[in-house]
Amino acid sequence: MDLKLSPTELAFRDGLRAWLAANIPPNWQAVYAALPGKTAQFEYLRQWQRKVYDGGWAGIAWPKEFGGRGATIIEQVIFTEEMARAGAPHLPGVLGLQLVGPTTITHGTGEQKERFLRKILSGEEIWCQGFSEPNAGSDLAALRTDAKRDGDQFIVNGQKVWTSYGWAADWCELVVRTDPDVPKHKGLTVLLVDMKSPGVDVRPLRQMTGETEFNELFFTEVKVPVENVLGKINDGWNVAIGTLMHERATLGAGIQIVIRRAFERIVELAKSLNKINDPLTRQKLAQCYAEIEVMRLNQMRAYSKMANGGTPGPEGSIQKIFWSELNQRFQQVAQEILGPYGQLTKGSDYAIDDGIWTYNYLRARGNTIEAGTSEIQRLILGHYVLGLPKSY
């Protein structure tokens, strides 16, 4: 057990810190907020990713031969933490960098790697994931988006939902059914689909928070060349599950810092609202602190294990359950501290932090649903980790 950073890790961190200090545009939040509309803002973030790429910091976990740095898991965690600590703009190609890229490196052909990986790193091409469907959520393998072989192409028909970045994406990692006559897990294939293909329709999906973070995707007679199959035909479940494991294991790293910062902010607010000496408030804040720490420590342990043993496994469900349910408890404590101010929304003259706490409270309800519901995570732990009989 040694939690000190090694000389290599320290050098990595210091190099990154220096680069961030020199390259994050000063006062960028104000510049960003003043940009007219979502597209202009997205373009701003894309330029930032280009800068990160030119600096050699994009996709650091990827092997060097594909343009990464071959960074260790620990260096990835340092990267995520330092980006958050420095208040850097986020990378809009995050799904490509963290999910589609690594999956392509594992399962892709030489041509696919050549064609896609560089542009994922530079942000020139943005990716989304077409996984969930209206009738295939937790039971992902029941998905029905259909792909029929027609010579050297597939003809795709169907609908996807909950697609983050769908509106901005150039490409989609799409899971389709290529064989309806075999058990559901065995007839799936992953296709890499050009979002500009005729027949792809992207519609905004308005959430309970009022914003449109996600999209619905409709595919009508969309033609996808056979060379865009990722992995083997009808082996899509294995390809997709690898992506999901990455998602569960890595999502938490940034969230840990985000919740920590929110905790520090709510402590400040509790002080200015004269609630910091209230014993009940102190107990609740201390409980939040303890749980945020436990989340951080669970993650450190999991990353150390991955650093020794390779790919993320079903234990990632422990992290997913922990951070999502913790964030919901934390947002409730924040609401209790803010009292009636906690309900004021963006634009209210009296709203604290421009209504972000109201938004965060509502947004947290999605945490125990997205990337696998808490219920399905518990069943994954029950079956795959504890060895209990499969219940579904």
Partner: protein, 316 residues
Amino acid sequence: MQFGLTEIQQLLKNSAREFFSAEYPIAEVRRIMETPFAHDPKLWRKTADQGWCGMTIPEAQGGMGLDLVEAAAAMEEAGRALVPGPLLAHLTACVAIASSGQVPPGLATGEKIATFADATKLFVMDAAVADFIIAPGQLIDRFTTLHLPAIDLTRRLYKIDFESGQPIQADLDRALAIGTVLLCAEITGAMQRVLDITVAYVKTRKQFGKAVGAFQLVQAMCADMLVATESARSATYYAAYAMQENLPDSLAAVSVAKSFINEAARQTGNNAIQCHGGMGFTWENEIHLYYRRIKAAETAFGDTAWHRERIAQLVL
């Protein structure tokens, strides 16, 4: 950076598991808990001969001189076996006594047993079998004890009385922080055992023609026990490391672990009993022995509210 046991630490933990599970099977624990002091001098001797009773005394003072992460790893295994008697009290008191620079003969080898007390003289663990009690500012070797029958059958509590002891310059606060970590390790081991027993049970117990572990409500309870146990382990080992390395957040880390484990362990015990159905409510089933240990641990070394207030003082 590496959050986990080194190979050598893992070997030590393995040998602790081997020893404690071989020497303290649950039938033996039950036998010892029925004795007047929940203590078996012969088995204590055997445990001491392996060095386990001198874990927290530096080698220069005759002990095994384990660092705290190693001691926690060993205590996790002791907790898993529900080792009865004065091990935790003795190891904690030894940290305090060793900090004075003067370790009475026989303490490091376990021939003499120590425990600790605060000014209330109440809830003193295993005082009836102790030769020494360390209290704020003094080391007491002549005292009387009054047994306080309590929930944990494997670890006796007493009210003590004494005239006065030898003045001693010891860092009792640090010793109590270390004792808290050792208790957290012990409870983590107990949680792991309770989880293992429960998972094995729900795989074999059948109702409606299938193992009850196939039911999602049961599976979710087991999954929650797993999340709680792994989290307890993360919190414990970090607290051990932070104390060992004197990190700036070491006391906060101890309170994080203790306040978290108080709740996580109780919930894990609740789920274990519930998953066993009627069997979980019987005397014959061993779950209640662990549950009693877990419940008693909740108020030992500071209860949840006390540790949360300390976190508040340290970080707010």
